[in-house]
Each structure stands twice: as C-alpha cells, then as structure tokens.
C-alpha cells in the first residue's frame, strides 16, 4: 500500500501546504518533506487561527461565553452549544424540561446533517468532482432555512440556554422537517450513492488509501467517524448517553477496513441514522415548557465537572472548574479534530501527495476547532 521510500537526503525538498490552501479548508499549514511525489514526512503546523477561547471563558460570565462555543466548530455549532450547556447544567444542578431536551436533539441532529453534507461536498471538491457540491448544497440550504426559522441564524447558532432552549419550535418547523427528511431520503440513492459512492473513480481514489489502525486511533485519541471507520464501536451518544438519546433506536455504523472509503461510508450511514433519530424525536415530542427557571447570574458550587457530546467530527468534551464565582475558573475544551489531525503525520508517510490530500479530506478537518 505505502511505497517503499529510497531517497537520498540531498534529494528531498520541503513543500508548504498552506496556510492558505484550498484543500486545507482554513488556515492549516502542513510542512511536507517530499521525495518527488512521495511524502517523506508530514508535519502539521497549528496556531494560525488561535483565538484564546479557553482564556476568554475565564473573564466573562457563564452565559456570556455561550456565543464563543459556536465559533469553534462552525459546522456543528449546536453540538458545541450542547456540550457547554451540559457542563454548566451539571455544575449548577439545573434540570432541563423534557420538551427542551427533544428540541435540542432534533436541532443538533439537523445540524449534524448539514455538517456531513458540507463535508461530503468539500471532500469531493478536493478529489476533483464539482457537481456533487451543488446537489448537497441544495439539500443543506433546506436545513439552514429550517434552523434559521427557529434559531434566527444560519451558521453560528447560539440557541441553547442553561435549562432549555432560547425559544420554542412551531408547527411549520415540524412539518418542514418531516418534508425535508422525506426529500433527502428520496434524493440519497440517486444523487449521493449512484452518482458518487458507486463511482469507480471515487472507489479507486479511496479504497485501501490512508489506512488508520485501531492502535493508531487509541494512541492519538481519535474519535468520531475516524475511529468508527477503523472498526471501534464508540459513540458518546451510546457509550455515555446524555440528554434523551437513550430513548431513541439508532445504530452506530462501524466499518472494519480503516481506509478512506470506510470513513466515507461511516458518514454516509450516519446521515441515515440522524434522520432516524429526528423522525423518532418528532413523533415523541412532548408538550410543556422549553426553559427552566434559572437565575440570571449563575454561581455554581466549587468543583470539577465534565460533559462530553458526540459532535460530527468526534467527541467534544468540556471540563469546567468552578471556584464558586460568576465565571469559570478554568474551561478546558477537548476538540475532536485536534486529535484526529495528530495522526496525519504518521499515516501520510510514504503516500503520494494526491493520496495524502484525499486522506486529509476524509479526516473532515475544521481548523478553528483545532486552534480554538
């Protein structure tokens, strides 16, 4: 699979991939040592979009930090909202009304769909296919319209609040979501699987390329589709259930191969599973309030709290240390892409440059989340 590299030291050269490069989808710089077209050494260089989110949390109140969470992973902002509110709710001992929990699940899963659709289109763009992007964006736009109707924004949502959500969903949203699921189900086989998944060029570009073993995943702490594509059945929604996820019947797609194609298939299957969760949540949606009574200024008891959620790229963790004050003493954010990118250097060694880029695309990197 990986070609043996026989190179003389004076014949290698350094190639900078990024910080501005269309395939890295953000300001990521990878220092590649190349021998002709083969990668000898790949070294990701981070820090170009570091914004001190963790430090920012320390000088503002718990509620004031909410908008920051959406700016880390701008593609799955609601999961980040969810992780942070879960940690604060655990710290302050806030009970969330059941309807709010269901609304959280519905909106987070819709957001996961948008994230996977965007990954799909951008990944194929990296591989050189342009038209799939147009079909995926057509579908993604429908979800953005639905989410804009309830949250008021289209990308960097700030919809969750401690003890519930900002405001209730209406019947238009419910019927709109049901119609959308019907639409995506009818379009998936043709526009996604016939056009792309079964395409021989895609299969040749992805199959047996970028093999990541279980051991490598464990070593670097990789999570999400990357881990499930290597044959480990781990999903925070199932393994450490939070919110109302235990009430739904859904599967965790796992592929044993560990190559780029396996990761592609995991995400395609997750789209289907997310739709199943949304349908069940809409069926079971209870009536009631969407926001518990919570004091305006929170002062959780001193202690150490942790909450993890399954974001589109893996498990996102929030470790919150409180000292009884109005703002967090320390907030450590564990972002999945940072761990997922860490194994890039080891896996990319000996690959062709074009394959390394295909492998990088299959990791689904979101750079602001790596740097925070």
């Amino acid at each position: 699979m990986t070609a043996p590299i026989i190179c003389r030291e004076d014949e290698v050269f350094v190639l900078n991939l990024g910080p501005q490069h269309p395939a890295t989808h953000g300001v990521l710089r990878v220092k590649l040592t190349m021998d002709g077209e083969y990668v000898v050494k790949a070294e990701p260089v981070l820090g170009y979009i570091h914004r001190m989110h963790e430090k920012m949390a320390e000088d503002r109140t718990f509620a004031q930090f909410m908008p920051n969470t959406a700016r880390m992973d701008y593609l799955h902002a609601l999961a980040y909202n969810h992780g942070y509110v879960l940690a604060v709710e655990r710290a302050a001992g806030i009970e969330v009304p059941e309807r709010a929990e269901y609304i959280r699940v519905i909106t987070v899963e819709l957001n996961r769909l948008t994230s996977h659709l965007l990954w799909w289109s951008a990944f194929l763009l990296d591989l050189g296919g342009f038209s799939p992007l147009l079909y995926a964006f057509d579908d993604r736009e429908q979800i953005l319209d639905l989410l804009e109707r309830v949250t008021g924004s289209r990308l960097t949502y700030c919809y969750f609040r401690f003890g519930g959500v900002y405001n209730d969903i209406d019947d238009d949203f419910i019927t709109g979501t049901r119609n959308f699921i019907k639409r995506l189900r009818s379009r998936l086989p043709r526009f996604y699987h016939d056009l792309v998944t079964k395409n021989i060029i895609l299969i040749k570009r992805l199959k047996d390329i970028g093999f990541v073993s279980k051991e490598q995943c464990r070593k670097y702490g990789a999570t999400g589709p990357l881990l499930r594509g290597s044959g480990v059945q781990f999903d925070v929604r199932k393994n450490e259930p939070y919110s109302v996820y235990p009430e739904f019947d859904f599967d965790i797609p796992v592929y044993e191969e560990g190559d780029s194609m396996a990761r592609y298939m995991v995400r395609m299957d997750e789209i289907e599973q997310s739709m199943r969760i949304i349908e069940q949540a809409l069926d079971k949606l209870p009536d009631g309030p969407v926001r518990a009574k919570v004091p305006k200024i929170l002062k959780p008891a001193a202690g150490d709290y942790y909450a993890a959620v399954e974001a589109a790229r893996g498990s996102f963790g929030c470790r919150l240390v409180c000292n009884g004050g109005k703002s967090p003493y320390r907030l450590k954010l564990r972002s999945p892409t940072f761990s997922n990118l860490s194994l890039f250097g080891e896996v990319a060694e000996g690959m062709l440059l074009a394959d390394a880029l295909a492998f990088m695309g299959s990791l689904d990197l979101v750079i602001p989340e790596i740097d925070r």
Binding site: A63, E148, T156, L195, I200
Partner: protein, 146 residues
C-alpha cells in the same frame, strides 16, 4: 486481464450514470435565488444588529437607561448615556451607540432587557469599506425611522 475489462465497463457505466443525472437536472427549474432581482424575506426571528424600540404612546424610546444590555454584552459593544431632565422622575436616553465591528449577534442584550427597549433589526445587506460606518448611533436611527 479481467480486471482491466472490469475497469473499462465499470468506468463507462459510472460515466453514463453521472452524465444521465446531470442531463436530467439540466432541464429542472432553477433552485438558487436570483439575488439582485429577487430579494430574500427575512424570518421573523432573524438576528440583524439591534435597534431601539419606540414607545407607541410617548413617541420616545422604551429605554430607561438601566444599562443591563451594556453589562450583559460579552464583547462590550454597547455604550449608552442618559440624563435626568429637570422636573422629570425618569432618566432619558441621550446616546445609544452600537459598535457593530465587535458584535457577534448573540442577543444577550435583548435577553437581559426587561423593558422591551431593543429588538433585532431585519437589515442584512450591510457593506462598507470604512470601519466608522459600523458604529451605529441607534437613537439617530430611531429618529430617522419615524
């Protein structure tokens, strides 16, 4: 050898399927919004920058200059001043400035307000090459609106 022929047949099939889908979609109606000719309608909950709300009876802003919005703002983009005119009990707003360059449209100010004094506007097409254009004088804006 059989793999060679499989690749050729498989490749031809993939090509035809792809071209078929593209050809069918080519004759479908346009789905994108033709922006300058078609103007989008903003959702009721759309978050534009904030604006002051006028009191229907007095014609003056609802704001009582309590400063909750200023304190709630995570980025410190709101500055407001007020004074108490002679003979009146309540403070009157004299200046309300929004530094939109720092605002992240989170709505903390609106949630903190107990007097229905601010709301999200529906402005979405803001563009300028000068930073000063984004320091909004909301009191002036309110006067211009009426």
């Amino acid at each position: 050898m059989s793999e060679y022929w499989n690749d050729i047949f498989g490749g031809t099939k993939s090509l035809l399927v792809g071209l078929g889908i593209t050809a069918r979609e080519f004759f479908k109606p346009v789905v994108t919004e033709q922006y300058p000719w078609e103007v989008p309608v903003m959702m009721p909950r759309f978050r534009g920058h904030i604006e002051l709300v006028k009191n229907g009876e007095t014609g003056r802003p609802n704001c009582i200059v309590c400063g909750m919005c200023m304190r709630n703002c995570p980025s410190g983009c709101i500055t407001l001043t007020g004074k108490k005119p002679e003979g009146e009990k309540k403070k009157v707003l004299t200046k309300y400035e929004l530094d939109f360059t720092k605002c992240s449209l989170c709505g903390s100010c609106i949630e903190g307000c107990n007097f229905n004094a601010i709301q999200f506007s529906k402005d979405y097409n803001l563009a300028s090459t000068r930073k000063e254009d984004y320091i909004f004088d909301l009191l002036k804006r309110l006067e211009e609106q009426s």
